[in-house]
Symmetry: C2
Subunit: 340 residues, 2 copies
Amino acid sequence: MATRLSDVAARAGVSVKTVSNVINDYPHITAHTRAKVEAAIADLDYRPNVSARSLRKGRSDFIALAIPEMASPYFAELGAAFSRAAKRRGITVLIEQTEGEPAAEQMILDGMRGQLIDGIVFSPITSSPAKISAAVGSGKPIVLLGERTTGGTFDHVAVDSVQAAYDATTHLISLGRRRIAAIGVGGGGASGTGAVRRRGYRKALKAAGLPHDPELELAGTGYHRLDGAASMRALLELPEPPDAVFCFNDLLALGALRTLADAGLSVPDDVAVVGFDDIEDGRYHSPSLTTISPDKEWLADQTVALLLERIAGSGEAARRNLTVPYTLEIRESTAGLEGR
Amino acid sequence: MATRLSDVAARAGVSVKTVSNVINDYPHITAHTRAKVEAAIADLDYRPNVSARSLRKGRSDFIALAIPEMASPYFAELGAAFSRAAKRRGITVLIEQTEGEPAAEQMILDGMRGQLIDGIVFSPITSSPAKISAAVGSGKPIVLLGERTTGGTFDHVAVDSVQAAYDATTHLISLGRRRIAAIGVGGGGASGTGAVRRRGYRKALKAAGLPHDPELELAGTGYHRLDGAASMRALLELPEPPDAVFCFNDLLALGALRTLADAGLSVPDDVAVVGFDDIEDGRYHSPSLTTISPDKEWLADQTVALLLERIAGSGEAARRNLTVPYTLEIRESTAGLEGR
DNA sequence: CCGCGGATGTCAATCGTTGTAAGAATCCAC
DNA sequence: GTGGATTCTTACAACGATTGACATCCGCGG
């Protein structure tokens, strides 16, 4: 049914290998032969069989992107960006959902698609660096995404979260806010997102000479709207509620905004809110959400590039850390109507 | 480096064939041998080479899901659901973004990953059924997603959009609204979403004895927040603005809500809003969004099941149409605070 | 003791593509 | 026109898993 190389060869009147040579841009081929072959390929609408090629070459031009949930807007946008970045380079991304399950992460790490994929971009939630090191049975290149400080064991791409959190908090301080809460300090696993962003948050408070009140640091259980809403409710019940909140991601912030709206409080007049991620929902929310905006296209593009480099060069060059550029997008949730 | 079947065989002290038999559930194997082999597999952390297996068997246990954009919440949620549904059945989904480009759709249809994938779930935007028929060079099973009435050429899974739109509109009418606009009538390509949902919308108006005013049917260019916001602005500029809006997807509705908020209008008091898709953003929006909620898990699960059936049975059984169950989720954007 | 069926082993072929090495064709220079 | 290099093309063997035909070997019932 499917046309194969030999069919093309027969049609073009050359050997199988010659057709293969044409496809793989082998240098020494007469224009005439090449034309014949290409005509035959077009005629028969031939596509190389990926399995056979991958079996033979040991390369598939597939990479995997392992993320916690693809329905989560940040990861969905990231997935889309990776998909585009990969396509630009002629490879394909296989997106895997770990759903935060250790088992799923484990499986991806060691099983890894039965050698189909050439490398992995991994956004770990539960797996610690140590566990990852241990689990990499496949020997395939890995690039980690996210805040973890892996101590140079792996290639690593992340925003400078301490600095970004510092900037976000400083922005709130510059607006005259003095009682600034942080939501999400417990998120992102052991040495993860929550801890790192809290560092930047505290640093900014300290730099401004503000005390940091443990009551204002909310951990919550996850990084979703519900967690943000619940944390915000807790904050509002304090004897002295905050006048600003820095949420460690946009979903938390959207949840918090929802609670504030329900409570009849005005944003930013009563409480200013900053998020992190710049997902589309925040941009169109009312009020629109001030947030740290990492350059997702850059992130995807550079990460793919780095991974491909690793795949190509079998050599053990020093591990690299890329820092994703970001901006602070000031919108209505802190600037009010001028933020439009 | 990678362990292969023969390594396992050596370790277990049996022949390659026996190991293969164990893996493929060949009936006549003693418990003892099976245990030995399985131990060896575990010890060596063996994974069959997907390429080799797929080459030999002609089956890869990969299916593709082609969607317009994976950053769009509805499709992101759908992708997540498909990913889960596939995992449950031991297969893998490859998600492809067409970005509405005809070229990308075309490529997916005819090239189709060089026979790597066993079948496709295709959510077409630009490609008409006719074009799809013509383009299916691969001979691989396809299931279409979405409103298209393909006249029985393909297996097809969709919500009964006419009925759902009818229900949504009727809900607005039952609230006493009389001037009900529709946003998105031009969306989804030629015979697509917009046209079908408009049918249900008009039908409901007619059933209630309400006139349908062409001024209240907004086409817009896309199905995003911006389009919804722009359409809503246009509606507000009418001499006699609507008292309710049925948006053909949730993003349009969220955009419309944004415009209403900016205009200082109250929802639902001044204008009631209904969406379609039930994406998470709508659930937590303030006001929360009344919407048609298709059962996405059902959709994904049944679609995968149908596709697998096609892949397995080479026979040409009659094409099937599955109708996705849905509910009308009544929330604040039409019910006000009772909608909580 | 024969024969039968269940449980493995042996051997070889196959899937489609590509790397290796060797063969055929062409060209230039002397 | 011969030697030798250069350019193009080919035959063959792999990559790893599966499968089919067939040969064994075992224990058990008749």
